[in-house]
């Protein structure tokens, strides 16, 4: 078997007394689209941020293309991050910059491209996510939630990354806009031939995007399998999540800790 694009082995992370990641083991093959499902607060975002090095895990190993990344120095980290694009949960657009400057940010600051050329690419990328050139001159705060997600997507793909992360791309959108975003994600990932990891608790989104699905529960990956096997996983936890039932092995913490 070839080296996986991303490999996590026994990754742990805690904040204060709270253990968020409890030994994550996960592999993502080159070119595949993996969707990680799991409840709110189960550590999905923390896992992605650990892979990117925005958070440092307490222990365990994270490899990208076979290269260990948990102990990288900041210069090497910057270089590694050229391989990545990320769409953040709240889009995380820079509100002091115009829309096109957001999309072109990685090209201008990271790749040192002249501004005029970067702007052309930015407008083209905005077109690829269904936004017209006049949006390019607006400020992010003038956009609706769905448009902000599109701009975030355009920014994530502008530098043509090898790996793209999507953190809850459809949360907070209406079902139709959610489906539009799902299709854009599938399209962009296919066009780039990129490896994608998507986090979501939206099953419609997971079915649409995933080649493979992994479920995270209490800081561990408790199930992985093909997307088509999700309905007969034989795992009670997965079943409960997929069908959205209140009773089952997953007990919601109703009272605060």
């Amino acid at each position: 078997m070839s080296t996986p694009k991303i490999a996590l082995k026994n990754v742990t992370k805690h904040f204060g007394p709270k253990k968020v990641l409890n030994g994550i083991d996960l592999e993502v093959a080159k070119g595949e689209s993996l969707v990680v499902i799991g409840g709110s607060g189960t550590g999905k975002s923390v896992m992605l941020k650990s892979i990117l090095g925005l958070l440092t895990p307490d222990s365990g190993s994270i490899q990208v293309d076979g290269q260990e990344t948990t102990r990288l120095r900041s210069r090497e980290r910057e270089k590694l991050l050229h391989k990545f694009g990320m769409l953040f949960q709240g889009a995380a657009l820079f509100d002091s910059l115009k829309v096109w400057e957001n999309v072109a940010f990685g090209l201008i600051q990271g790749a040192h491209m002249p501004r005029a050329q970067a702007k052309e690419i930015a407008v083209a990328k905005l077109g690829a996510v269904g936004l017209t050139p006049d949006v390019a001159e607006l400020s992010p705060s003038e956009l609706s939630g769905g448009m902000q997600k599109r701009v975030g997507l355009a920014r994530a793909i502008a530098d043509e990354p090898e790996i793209i992360f999507f953190d809850e791309p459809t949360t907070g959108l209406d079902p139709i806009m959610a489906d539009v975003i799902n299709e854009l994600i599938v399209q962009c990932v296919k066009d780039l031939g990129a490896t994608a990891v998507t986090i979501t608790h939206d099953m419609a989104s997971a079915r649409k995007i995933a080649d493979r699905i992994a479920m995270i529960y209490q800081g561990r990956i408790i199930w992985t399998g093909h997307a088509r096997d999700i309905d007969d996983s034989g795992n009670a936890y997965v079943d409960q999540f997929v069908h959205g039932r209140a009773d089952g092995p997953i007990k919601m913490q109703i009272k605060a800790l």
Partner: protein, 258 residues
């Protein structure tokens, strides 16, 4: 026992905070001198600090100079020393009140704005987004603000010095009936370069501290709007206290009598 444990814990937290601030400062400083720099960001901050603070700093200086002249007149006339007013005004303004009051006003205006902006960027994941776009947040956000603070507050203080002395002149000539030419003469007569230079050194350090506190508290803010609010308050309070402490230390360095 409980008391000892609590004291120990507080001390550890203090050490941790000091260490974190030292690391933050070191890293930010190293990014100020290592290319690439971000000229657009530096310019934007310079305009924000230097240009947009002019009205508030100018007004502060004007009224401070005016009240200095008035106060020293009413005080000094008790022992027939009215002639020293011009000298008192210019020395007080250039050495102390120009840099300290400008520093405090800029801390309120700029330190708060920096903490709020960077804090909002932190809690909305914009700082994480910077990193994923291969841009170091210390270099892109913090270094330009430190450079701008360090360079622009001294310029503001030059303006404050001039306006403050002018305020004293206005009161001296138009209210206290001094002769204009002799007031101006008295202003220059005992003024030495070190008076102005010490004030500008203070200004540079204050500007740096204001930007540092704004960035540091913003950068480490957490927990939504409330966290950003706390960061803003902490930035202003800590910058103000540091200004007053450093003001004393620098004065000691420059003017301790042998």
């Amino acid at each position: 026992m409980g008391f000892l444990a609590a004291t120990g814990r507080a001390f550890l937290i203090f050490l941790e905070a000091t260490g974190r601030l030292a690391l933050f400062t070191g890293s930010a400083l190293s990014h100020c001198v290592r290319p690439p720099l971000y000229p657009r960001q530096i310019l934007r901050q310079m305009i924000d600090i230097g240009y947009y603070s002019l009205p508030v700093v100018g007004l502060t200086a004007l009224f401070t100079g005016m009240v200095l002249a008035l106060q020293s007149y009413s005080g000094f006339s008790r022992f027939q020393a009215e002639g020293a007013i011009a000298t008192v005004v210019v020395l007080s303004i250039t050495r102390e009140l120009g840099p300290v009051l400008a520093g405090l006003m800029v801390a309120g205006r700029i330190g708060a704005a920096m903490a709020a902006e960077i804090g909002t960027m932190r809690v909305t994941e914009q700082i994480d987004a910077l990193s994923t776009l291969s841009t170091n947040p210390h270099k892109y956000l913090v270094a330009p603000r430190l450079i701008a603070g360090l360079t622009m507050v001294p310029l503001l203080v030059i303006v404050a010095d001039i306006i403050g002395v002018f305020g004293g002149f206005l009161v001296g000539v138009y209210r206290l009936d001094f002769n204009a030419a002799s007031y101006i003469n008295r202003t220059w007569e005992f003024l030495q370069p070190v008076d102005v230079i010490s004030g500008l050194v203070k200004a540079a350090i204050f500007g740096f501290l204001i930007a540092l506190m704004g960035c540091y508290h913003g950068y480490h803010s957490k927990g939504g709007a409330q966290g950003v609010g706390a960061a803003t308050t902490n930035a202003v309070v800590s910058a103000s206290i540091m200004i007053l402490v450093w003001n004393y230390l620098i004065t000691g360095l420059f003017f301790s009598t042998k």
